[in-house]
């Protein structure tokens, strides 16, 4: 988000799904697309079958690797070097789009200077990838004519996550792969409404539509629209910082809506301590989750099928969610609960329906201004949609970037060694992620059919390591990091390279996040889930 915002002026996925069908080259990096975004995965495979080239970069030999024209199994945490190496080749062989750069991008010389160092040989040393593959990837991407980049948490969940994103943005700018169908830099958002939650200002530094809280004009406009007093000006704490503050006692009260940090956040032991340290914890959820069990008051919420509203997907497309069945017992929609509580806390909200809440969003959010439930009932709309007669915007950056001067900028990055690296005591690298059958903390998927299909934690381990440890398929193994330890059934597969284990994080009773560190990317405050030094033993 941050990486793209800085280079292009907007942090969202640049192109829509239809755009995939027009790409000649698909560059998938740090995204196990067929499992985390299966429908996008199917389109990528379709496009590949119809003749597009596919480049896949992932330390795990994910399913898409099978179809790849170029498959790169680089060392974890070496993404910046890899992309710099590709850019080196592109510049060396004059494959960049000079006209595009001249017209639309700033800071080219700085980029040239940084990537000069990243010869294929040096890049190969850092990434562990043969130089020919780096050259092949570079040439394939640059050849286009339309090349699109897709990435997910494999890029962002690193200490250098923002630099990783900046590098991909640099690559796209270098080859002019933006502003047309079939191109773009496309972060595939992991959760159904992560885009919407950001758009809505559920972030410590911005109101809706990324309007900065520090901006006095914005604040006064908001307080006018909301008919309230002065709004706070200083950016608040991020989730990870709030957790820290709770641990130290600076934060006294936490109100958690629909989240389960006991499973999804890094360093579970630390999270437990922090939440227990609070004076008052409210959890509003559909189940008595691991987090809710620590609460002082738990509020029963209506779930997905029981309420009206909207989600904004990974392509900035706003769609309706509709009530199909009644909520059980006294459970209520979150918006009703929040309205009731706000009024008890002294507000005078008069929302009678989700539709009215949406109108309030449109009123204070320029990019949503033209939308309403009524319009969305006709069909989805992508923001920016500034007026009621505006058709929405499927592709961003056509002709102009969102930065004030309309130009994008290169933000060159140097590769830095990861925060943690396997050593003698912790010789393995553990990486966490999602699997097809489950979602996030598993509170929904594990209570449905997929829960019967994949019941418990498994740990992917390379056949060589399994042999060395005398571990057989399905034997229990224990993975231990400096922060904690977790056990699961060994799944012996060359999907993971030697000396790497992969753990899905959906299983609360064997939470992979016991292992992870609350080490974050300083720029985006994203936890570095993908690299953890661990040891592996038979359990």
């Amino acid at each position: 988000m941050k990486g793209l915002g800085e280079t292009f002026g907007s942090g969202a996925m640049t192109n829509d799904f239809k755009s995939i069908k027009e790409a000649d080259v698909l560059f998938v990096v740090g995204s196990n697309t067929t499992e985390t975004h299966p429908v996008i995965g199917s389109w990528i495979k379709e496009r590949k079958a119809d003749g597009a080239k596919l480049i896949v970069c992932d330390p795990r030999k994910i399913e898409l690797a099978k179809y790849a024209d170029v498959y790169i199994r680089h060392n974890s945490g070496s993404d910046v070097a890899l992309v710099n190496g590709m850019m080196h080749v592109i510049l060396r062989d004059n494959l960049h789009n000079a006209a595009f750069i001249d017209e639309r991008v700033e800071n080219f010389e700085a980029l040239r200077k940084v990537v000069e160092e990243y010869t294929p040989e040096k890049t190969s040393e850092i990434t562990g990838v043969p130089a020919e593959l780096i050259e092949a990837a570079a040439r394939t991407y640059a050849a286009g004519p339309n090349s699109a980049i897709f990435y997910t948490m494999g890029i962002t969940q690193h200490q250098s996550g923002t630099d990783n994103v900046r590098s991909l943005a640099n690559l796209a700018l270098l080859c002019g792969m933006l502003g047309r169908p079939g191109t773009g830099v496309n972060p595939l958002r992991g959760q159904n409404n992560v885009q919407g939650a950001c758009d809505m200002g559920a972030l410590p530094n911005v109101f809706t539509g990324y309007q900065k809280v520090e901006n006095a004009d914005v604040r006064s406009r908001m307080s006018g629209l909301w008919k309230c007093g002065e709004l706070p000006a200083a950016p608040g704490l991020t989730l990870v910082k709030m957790m820290e503050a709770a641990g130290t006692g600076d934060l006294k009260c936490l109100y958690i809506m629909g989240e389960n940090p006991m499973v999804t956040d890094p360093d579970t032991n630390h999270v437990r301590h922090a939440l227990e340290n609070l004076e008052f914890l409210v959890v509003q959820d559909i189940f008595l989750t691991e987090t809710a069990q620590l609460a002082d008051v738990v509020l029963p919420a209506a779930c997905w099928a029981e309420k009206e509203g909207t989600y904004t997907n990974t392509t900035r497309t706003v769609q309706r969610v509709r009530k199909a069945v009644e909520a059980p017992g006294e459970a209520r929609s979150d918006w009703e609960i929040l309205t009731d509580l706000a009024n008890r806390l002294g507000a005078a909200w008069e929302f009678k329906s989700a539709s009215e809440v949406f109108d309030a969003i449109a009123a204070c959010t320029p990019s949503y201004a033209g939308m309403s439930h009524e319009r969305l009932d006709e069909g989805p709309l992508s923001w920016p949609c500034p007026a009621v007669d505006h058709p929405g915007t499927p592709n961003l950056h056509v002709g102009r970037f969102s930065r004030p001067n309309g130009k994008a900028t290169f933000v060159p990055c140097e590769w830095k060694e990861p925060h943690e690296w396997p050593d003698e005591e912790f010789p393995f690298l553990a990486t966490t992620g999602r699997i097809l059958y489950h979602y996030h903390s598993g509170s929904m998927s594990r209570r449905s059919a997929p829960g019967e299909f994949v019941r418990e934690l498994f740990i992917e381990i390379n056949p060589k390591d399994a042999e060395a440890l005398h571990v057989e398929e399905d034997a229990m193994i224990r993975v231990t990091s400096r922060r904690g330890s977790v056990s699961g059934k060994a799944k012996i597969t060359d999907r993971v390279p030697p000396k790497m284990v992969f753990l899905p994080f959906h299983f609360a009773e064997a939470g992979a996040n016991v292992l992870t560190a609350a080490v974050i990317d300083p720029d985006s405050e994203t936890p570095a889930y993908k690299i953890n030094a661990v040891k592996v033993e038979t359990a």
Partner: protein, 359 residues
């Protein structure tokens, strides 16, 4: 584009270039029965039910696969066509069990519809012992049941897997009368490339594939379809929640391959289609809970909300607004996220609001 003039059943019809006879007939409101055809799938021409007579053409043609040509004179229900069509359906019915009464597809079965339309009660070719019952029910996975006795080998599931799910987990195996649909080389479904997206289940025209959790949850005509958006990953697939109003429960979740509004073009994954039972889970929270002496007790809304309001106000007063924080959720709606940040900023006076964007 120049239209193509045709005559179908004596009616002048203008088709677009590139259309098949079936598409042209549908556009003109002329019904031709089909089984293996589905607009979301590549043409197979397998079931032979859509055979039509085209004048000057010695052979009957499958409407689904034959492109229109200028001046074609087409008969969709001539005696010759009806005889052939009836023969084909009766051939299919030789082995197909006629236990419609207990079949999960009763009411949406396309074979049932075609047979009804042609006035067929049973196959005149059928002899004792012909009804297929040799295949064991395959129900090892929690998602769907395969009853190969009912399979009519139309191949829609195979094409759905190939062209929509893009897996090729299944194909025809064996030849002649032993032909059947299976994962390759004797593997069972659970150890095949199948990812249980269930698109084949929805596209199966008969009862060979049926969703496990839907058994007994409602007949097709009892269900009301509610269009919504999937709550799993960030793709945002359009889903249709099928609700049985008699029970107030979800019967299953489907997709619409022809939906003009669905960004997913009808595609979906195992979670979107099959991970909805949690909605009716026994352990859903149904009343507010207040913790007392380390354990929860149920409470009414008024009490719970006033406890919260009281404690939050007190903390704000004692330690300032920034001693309070809010975690919003990427799984909640825009409306809910919007209100939570307003609660934080406007009501509590703090910017300590964030959500799990990065996890």
């Amino acid at each position: 584009m120049q239209g193509i003039d045709l005559t179908i059943n004596g009616k002048k019809v203008v088709a677009e270039p590139g259309m098949t006879i079936l598409q042209a007939a549908r556009k003109a409101g002329i019904h031709i029965p089909t089984l293996c055809e589905h607009p979301a799938l590549p043409v197979a021409g397998a079931c032979r039910v859509c055979l039509v007579e085209v004048e000057k053409n010695p052979k009957l043609l499958t409407a689904c696969s034959s492109p229109v040509a200028p001046g074609m004179v087409i008969h969709t229900h001539s005696p010759r066509v009806l005889e052939a069509r009836k023969a084909v359906v009766e051939l299919i019915l030789i082995r197909h069990p006629l236990d419609c009464f207990s079949c999960p597809s009763n009411g949406k079965c396309e074979l049932q519809e075609v047979a009804y339309e042609l006035g067929i009660r049973d196959s005149s070719f059928k002899e004792e012992g012909d009804t297929c019952n040799s295949y064991a029910l395959e129900d090892a996975n929690p998602f769907y049941v395969r009853d190969m006795n009912k399979c009519i080998l139309c191949g829609r599931c195979i094409r759905a897997c190939d062209s929509l799910a893009r897996y090729h987990a299944i194909d025809f195996q064996n030849r002649g009368i032993k032909a059947m649909v299976q994962p390759p080389v004797g593997r069972d479904l659970e150890h095949s490339d199948c990812t249980f997206c269930g698109q084949c289940v929805q596209l199966c025209p008969v009862g060979a594939l049926s969703e496990k959790a839907s058994a007994g949850q409602g007949r097709p005509w009892e269900l009301e379809s509610v269009k919504s958006t999937c709550s799993y990953c960030g793709v945002g697939c359009e889903l249709n929640i099928q609700v049985n109003r008699k029970t107030g429960r979800i019967a299953n979740v489907t997709t619409d391959y022809q939906s003009p509004t669905g960004i997913n073009e009808g595609r979906c994954c195992v979670k979107g289609r099959f991970a909805w039972q949690y909605v009716h889970s026994e352990d859903r929270l149904t009343r507010p809970l207040i913790k007392e002496n380390g354990s929860f007790r149920e409470a009414g809304w008024a009490e719970a909300l006033s406890v919260i309001a009281g404690r939050m106000n007190a903390i704000k007063e004692d330690f300032g607004s920034d001693a309070v924080g809010f975690f919003s959720s990427a799984r909640c709606t825009n409306e809910e996220n919007f209100l939570l940040q307003r609660l934080s900023r406007e009501v509590m006076g703090t910017n300590n609001v964030d959500h799990c964007a990065h996890l």
